[in-house]
């Protein structure tokens, strides 16, 4: 009995070392995924983010699958993903934006410089909708199906290789 107990520390240590070694080989995932996938969008109604486009509400997500893009004019990766959003728009995807903690003038400026792929942009001054759908940063893009159910979450800026993935997700959300 005592013999066995003496091996216990080594066994515990081996377990830890194995776990740590495995975790070192894993990519460190810094993203917090939303657990709202498969759930209907929570009800919301946001004022327009600037004069050019109407605001956004839950009711706007009906008819066909759409993209919900969480972004902000002060966010650098949002500039990087602007061309990809433009591509998606040209493919006939309807993108509804939600601008986080943003000012109308800044939003208008940003769209002037980097293009406007949106049909509507709601202004979320206190991250209310962002929190309600489980998003933890900008930019993030959600695929919403025709019944208003959240189907897919893309965290971070959309790279060219992500475009087909989003298109397929939209297809599947039909």
């Amino acid at each position: 009995m005592r013999k066995l107990t003496l091996w216990l520390p080594l066994a515990l240590f081996a377990f830890f070392a194995g776990l740590a070694a495995y975790m070192l080989t894993q990519e460190k995932d810094q993203f917090v995924e939303s657990t709202m996938i498969g759930q209907p969008l929570p009800a919301f109604a946001l004022d327009p983010a600037f004069d050019g486009l109407p605001g956004a509400s839950k009711a706007d997500f009906s008819g066909k699958p759409k993209l919900l893009n969480i972004w902000a004019s002060w966010c650098l990766p949002c500039i990087a993903e602007a061309p990809q959003l433009e591509v998606l728009k040209q493919q006939g995807v309807e993108i509804i934006g939600i601008a986080i903690r943003d000012k109308p003038a800044d939003v208008a400026n940003f769209l002037n410089r980097y293009g406007n792929p949106y049909t509507r942009i709601g202004s979320d001054k206190i991250s209310e909708v962002q929190l309600a759908i489980g998003s933890s940063g900008v930019p993030e893009t959600f695929v919403i199906d025709s019944k208003g159910v959240i189907r897919h979450q893309h965290i971070g800026d959309i790279r060219p290789e992500d475009v087909p993935v989003l298109l397929r997700e939209l297809e599947e959300a039909q």
């Binding site: 005592r2 013999k3 003496l6 091996w7 520390p9 080594l10 240590f13 081996a14 830890f16 070392a17 776990l19 740590a20 070694a21 495995y22 975790m23 070192l24 894993q26 460190k28 995932d29 917090v32």
Partner: protein
């Protein structure tokens, strides 16, 4: 040139570590009675190595002092415009520099051990030095192969990147080096434990050699944690002093193990009991400090303090961890069965109380370890969870409360066996204090359970700490006993501070226009003005807050919101008003569009006692070391005198019969 000297010294030191290891191991292989010719090199190798490693560190210090931008490490972590003191402290504010500091201290303590320790059997000493050399070699390899601090840039940089502003603080100057020195002290304890285990010399003599190292490491860890907690308190700007963050836990775990080890080694020294347990704790304490290093540097866990993260280094440290700790536990499993348990004792005895608290400390260690590593475990299954204060506080308290109660009583008990009836009065007094204090505080209002219990225990412990002195002539109490009394009193003081902070803190967050006044506790805080000011490598908005207590003369506090430009980052510099019975903590935030300023103010009664207590605990430890050393030197002097007398008698012996002839 300077950097090349440092690098050369480091390589030479590594070579000497190999020599020390081989020489020490050779001594073990010699048969009984013989001495291996190689064995004589172990001690000198350790001493010279100490000089070389310290020299290497001094060279790096000099490169940082003059901001030698041809060094990669300096260019990435320093800046010519940085205040001089932070250029120096920046030496260990990065991974490579802090590892060099670590090996510097490691080699220095190995050198001290080799130069001055003569009490151990020579064989055990050699085994110890061999282990010490082996440990040092791993860290030299780590530095030289994967994190060379002296790497040159092909083209010297024009300007450095600067140091993380959170680290540009005097707290950083003392906190990490103190902790490292503590970790390293535990490595000596580890080497001694392995040496004793390998040569089957686990006995009181060995415990007496190990004790000052454990005590010293423990004092440094105590002070390091205390300084770190105070640094987080005033630098992070939200008044928290302990976050149960992985990096904080990484420093707490070795402390818990060292606390247990310190008590168990005392039992071994005084009573020749707890042999295996002491060895086990010796290995555990060092493995906790290495585990801490691994967690902090590998970035497997997210932490506020993670600033030197690199998975490749993590793999290297994990390799070392596997080698040393895996090896040590294997030897432990193979050898410890052969070590007898030592003398036995009754439940109600000094040893009984110490064993109880040793087990409780280990249980708390297990909880902290579990809570810290659990998120890592679930991440392996792609599930992310958070474990925080609401878990650690109650789970730790389950074991801490009985431990603190036994701590109050333990020092009153006699060694080997005692009757509870003998200390009836003391037991009643302690119980009355706990219950009385809790009843008194509950009378004044509703407070959370843990702080309430903390207050009761603190009151009882504060009195109980001095009970061992009752009925003794104070002049004749040994210095080491005073050390224990002070350290235990320090626990009470610290606990009192924690409980008060938890139960009575007041918070005021408000948007204040210049000229506006906020009331918190007895204090009226008026925002007089906010002005921009500039520092050497930052600019700031500085608020002038006039604080007046009960309408008295106002004191000016100047919290700042600082923006550093290299690297670009902003920090809140809190302003503290320290009173004997607490601290007023003020922070200035951003300006709202209507021109009002965000002001955060806390009144934290007796919060300073947390760190006063930490200092008392450390001071108690120092007294204990001094006391033990004095006794030891006296004993050594007495034994040399005795030996001399015996030699004299022997010299006289053959001469004595002569007259008869």
């Amino acid at each position: 040139m300077i950097a090349e000297i440092g690098l050369a010294a480091l390589w030479l030191a590594a070579a000497l570590a190999v020599l020390q290891m081989i020489s020490g191991a050779a001594a073990l292989r010699a048969g009984p009675g013989e001495t291996n010719p190689l064995a004589i090199y172990a001690r000198p190798a350790a001493v010279v190595q100490a000089f070389l490693a310290v020299l290497a560190f001094a060279m790096l210090l000099r490169s940082f002092a003059v901001t030698d931008l041809s060094l990669k490490l300096v260019a990435t972590n320093s800046h010519s415009m940085k205040p001089f003191i932070y250029k120096l402290t920046g030496t260990w504010g990065n991974h490579e520099g802090s590892m060099l500091l670590w090996v510097g201290v490691l080699a220095a303590s190995g050198g001290l051990l080799a130069a001055f320790e003569r009490r151990l059997p020579e064989l055990t000493m050699h085994a110890t030095l061999a282990v010490q050399g082996f440990v040092a070699l791993g860290f030299y390899a780590f530095l030289l192969l994967s994190s060379n601090p002296f790497e040159r840039l092909p083209v010297p940089a024009v300007e450095g990147n600067g140091l993380n502003p959170l680290l540009q603080d005097i707290g950083l100057a003392i906190h990490p080096p103190t902790l490292y020195a503590g970790y390293v002290g535990l490595s000596v304890a580890f080497s001694l434990a392995m040496g004793a285990l390998l040569t089957r010399e686990v006995n009181p003599a060995f415990a007496r050699v190990m004790r000052p190292w454990v005590l010293g490491a423990w004092v440094l860890l105590t002070l390091g944690i205390t300084a770190g907690s105070y640094w987080a308190y005033y630098e992070l700007g939200w008044g928290g002093w302990w976050f149960w963050d992985p990096v904080e836990n990484a420093s707490l775990m070795p402390w818990l193990a060292a606390t247990a080890l310190m008590h168990s080694v005392s039992v071994l020294a005084a009573r020749d009991a707890l042999r295996t347990w002491t060895i086990m704790l010796g290995v555990l304490a060092f493995s906790m400090s290495m585990l801490g290093t691994f967690l902090v540097r590998s970035g497997v866990l997210t932490s506020v303090h993670a600033f030197a993260v690199d998975p490749e280094r993590g793999a290297f440290i994990l390799g070392l961890l596997g080698l040393y700790i895996g090896g040590a536990f294997t030897i432990f499993a193979l050898r410890a069965g052969a070590v007898a348990e030592g003398k036995r004792f009754a439940v109600t005895s000094r040893e009984g109380a110490l064993v109880f608290n040793n087990v409780m400390l280990s249980a708390i260690l297990a909880i902290v370890l579990l809570g810290t590593l659990y998120p890592l475990l679930t991440e392996a299954f792609d599930v992310r969870v958070s474990v925080g204060p609401p878990y650690f506080n109650p789970a730790g308290a389950i074991f801490a409360i009985p431990m603190l109660l036994v701590m109050a009583v333990g020092p009153l008990l006699r060694w080997k066996s005692d009757k509870p009836a003998r200390i009836q009065f003391e037991l009643m007094l302690i119980a009355a204090l706990v219950i009385g204090m809790i009843a008194l505080v509950s009378f004044f209002g509703q407070f959370p359970l843990l702080p309430l219990l903390g207050l009761g225990l603190a009151a009882a412990l504060a009195v109980a700490a001095f009970l061992p002195l009752r009925g003794r002539s104070l002049k004749r109490v040994p210095v080491a006993t005073w050390g224990m009394v002070l350290a235990h009193f320090g626990i009470a003081v610290s606990l009192f501070g924690m409980a008060c902070e938890g139960a009575f803190s007041e918070e005021r967050l408000a948007a204040v226009a210049p000229g506006g006044t906020e009331q918190i506790g007895d204090f009226a805080v008026t925002l007089e003005a906010v002005t921009p000011i500039a520092g050497p490598n930052w600019t700031a908005m500085e608020a002038r807050l006039a604080v007046s207590q009960d309408g008295g003369a106002p004191v000016i506090l100047t919290p700042q919101a600082r923006s550093f430009w290299s690297p670009p980052q902003s920090t809140s510099e809190s302003a503290l008003l320290t009173k004997w019975n607490g601290q007023l903590y003020a922070v200035i935030g951003n300006q709202a569009e209507d021109g009002r300023w965000q002001v955060r103010i806390w009144w934290k009664p007796f919060v300073t006692f947390i760190w006063y207590g930490g200092l008392l605990i450390g001071f108690g430890g120092i007294l204990s070391i001094v006391g033990r050393m004095r006794v030891d030197l006296k004993r050594r002097a007495a034994s040399t005198k005795g030996a001399q007398r015996r030699a004299d008698v022997e010299a006289l012996g053959p001469a004595a019969p002569q007259p008869a002839e």
